[in-house]
């Protein structure tokens, strides 16, 4: 495949896996947790590099998972010690992120890892580091990582579909029915972390938030059914990847930036024109009597 094709495939994989996870992030009202984890995985990746002295998909995943869980755990702990939830989120992720930034500039510095790259990502370079996979040929490492993560995410969404639904809608009921709500919460945070880590190389820490939240918020405007919301959200993510690449090629600008911009544009169009929740529909037809 050409470099262009690999870039688009990678971007589409980011769009798809972030789109799926984003739906539950929004429904669990933890959209800002995505922001936090997208920053703290930097610390996880840096520490993983310092320990293993190399950047491999596996070490990054493990570092990212640990950082993500640490974030979720610290936020939860601070909150249970009477710090407001939003405040504890803000405290935890900025502190962990700052440690990551300091470690990069003091202890790592010389390699592939730099703050600019961590924040913005650079999808253009992805096709240069490939690895051989039997049956598939040479595949960019980042793309392979995203494929694996997408499979994991889809697997867990399907296996625990009804558990995600009930713990998102009514965690109190879930707890009173004897479901392991806390365990599911940390499993969910693990999935968010690996999605973020895998998307990190492509779109960077800041824009991964756009990919996690905006397509899901857009899908929410179009449907009242969870299954459809997942499909639409994943679809909007992929669509943003294609259109974003087109815009980037046309304007000769950052691909990840153009992708994030596209998610925003699709949201605005949906916000105006969605038949059920759109702004225009409110003006066109009066609110129906129930």
């Amino acid at each position: 495949m050409t470099f262009t094709a690999w870039i688009i495939v990678t971007a589409a994989l980011v769009g798809l896996s972030c789109g799926l996870m984003g739906v539950f992030l929004i429904l669990r009202k933890q959209a800002m947790m995505a922001d936090a984890i997208s920053h703290t995985v930097l610390l996880g990746i840096v520490v993983a590099y310092m320990v293993s002295q190399q950047i491999t998909g596996m070490s990054m995943l493990i570092g990212g998972i640990l950082a993500g869980l640490l974030t979720a755990f610290l936020v939860q702990s601070l909150h249970s010690m009477k710090v407001r939830h939003d405040a504890s989120l803000g405290i935890v992720f900025t502190t962990l992120f700052a440690i990551g930034v300091i470690l990069i500039s003091t202890s790592v510095g010389n390699v592939h890892l730099d703050v600019q790259h961590a924040l913005m990502g650079e999808i253009t370079f992805i096709p240069f580091t490939t690895t051989y996979v039997p049956g598939l040929g040479d595949i960019p490492k980042a793309t392979l990582l995203l494929m694996v993560v997408l499979l994991i995410v889809v697997f867990f969404i399907i296996v625990f579909y009804k558990e995600w639904k009930i713990t998102s809608f009514d965690p109190v009921l879930a707890a009173s029915l004897g479901l392991p709500v806390l365990l599911l919460h940390y499993l969910f945070m693990t999935l968010v972390s690996i999605t973020t880590v895998a998307s990190f190389d492509a779109v960077g820490a800041i824009l991964v938030v756009a990919m996690l939240i905006t397509p899901a918020a857009t899908a929410y405007l179009w449907t009242d059914r969870l299954m459809l919301m997942l499909i639409l959200s994943g679809g909007f993510g992929v669509l943003s990847a294609f259109i974003g690449y087109g815009i980037a090629a046309w304007l000769d600008t950052s691909i990840s930036g153009a992708m994030a911009l596209t998610t925003g544009l699709i949201f605005i169009v949906s916000f105006l024109s969605s038949p059920t929740h759109g702004l225009l529909s409110r003006w066109v037809k009066p609110k129906q009597l129930i």
């Binding site: 429904l27 009202k29 009477k82 296996v159 625990f160 579909y161 009804k162 558990e163 639904k165 009930i166 998102s168 809608f169 009514d170 109190v172 009921l173 879930a174 707890a175 009173s176 029915l177 004897g178 479901l179 929410y220 449907t223 009242d224 059914r225 969870l226 459809l228 919301m229 129930i290």
Partner: protein, 255 residues
């Protein structure tokens, strides 16, 4: 205490929010097959009492047992109907689906709800007079209808003991009737129900037991013996103007 047929035993229970102690030294027992209303002024800790008993809020001291067992062991026999405002009604799901959620514990991991589960959920909706709304998105239901969905969800759990937090708050008259009919039916089946209630007027009509709560239990017993002016004044404080059953001028709708 060993020979009593109490299915709930609460001993020296206390609980707090942050630094404020909301419940202190709560002691009471509830017998099987009773319909108890928990009444008290705003902020008396009525919801907190239920939540603490069901381990949804941390206990400071004391213990609670159900059917002679700990909550953990009795969990499956207990149904809880939270306040309507405790969930996000914009969640992308329909009424039937919400009721089916009451069965998730029984369905277990790695299984999807089967036709018979959906059937059971539908029957519960039917019982609450909501079968026509089974496929309605939950945000498009009125407050009373949402409350009926919650009740239906509790019914499918087939619990022996139910806790309900303000099920009659802000619902229309016909919903109130439907809910009370269901509570009566549960009682006939020998089930036990504890309801946080805000309307003193309807206590004698709807319930057979009453528990007066204001941070601690002021009185608890049968409505005939316990629902007295002096207990009401004691619990609510001095200037409680209160209409007795005979004085009130309320006509119930016949729908």
């Amino acid at each position: 205490m060993i020979v009593s047929n109490s299915i709930i035993q609460v001993e020296h229970l206390s609980a707090a929010y942050q630094k404020n102690t909301v419940l202190t030294d709560i002691n009471f027992e509830v017998k099987a097959g009773t319909l108890t209303s928990i009444v008290g002024p705003n902020g008396a800790g009525k919801s907190t009492l239920i939540k603490t008993m069901l381990a949804l809020h941390p206990t400071l001291t004391g213990k609670v047992s159900f059917f002679g067992k700990s909550f953990e062991k009795a969990k499956k026999q207990i149904g809880y109907v939270p306040q309507r405002g405790s969930v996000d009604w914009d969640f992308p799901t329909n009424a039937l689906d919400v009721v089916t959620m009451g069965l998730y514990g029984k369905i277990g991991f790695f299984r999807i709800p089967m036709k018979k589960d959906k059937q059971k959920a539908f029957e519960a909706l039917e019982k609450m007079g909501m079968s026509a709304y089974a496929n309605r998105q939950i945000s498009q239901l009125s407050g009373g209808q949402q409350q009926r969905v919650f009740l239906a969800r509790a019914l499918v759990q087939e619990a022996d003991l139910y806790f309900m937090d303000e099920p009659l708050a802000g619902v229309d008259a016909s919903t109130e009737k439907a809910i009370m009919a269901i509570l009566e039916e549960l009682k006939k089946q020998g089930k036990t129900v504890m309801v946080v209630h805000h309307d003193l007027q309807t206590v004698p009509e709807y319930f057979d037991h009453v528990l007066f709560l204001n941070h601690t239990v002021y009185a608890h017993g049968t409505v005939e013996e316990t629902f007295t002016d002096s207990n009401i004044i004691k619990t609510y404080g001095g200037n409680m103007s209160w209409l007795r059953e005979g004085d009130k001028n309320v006509v119930h709708t016949t729908s």
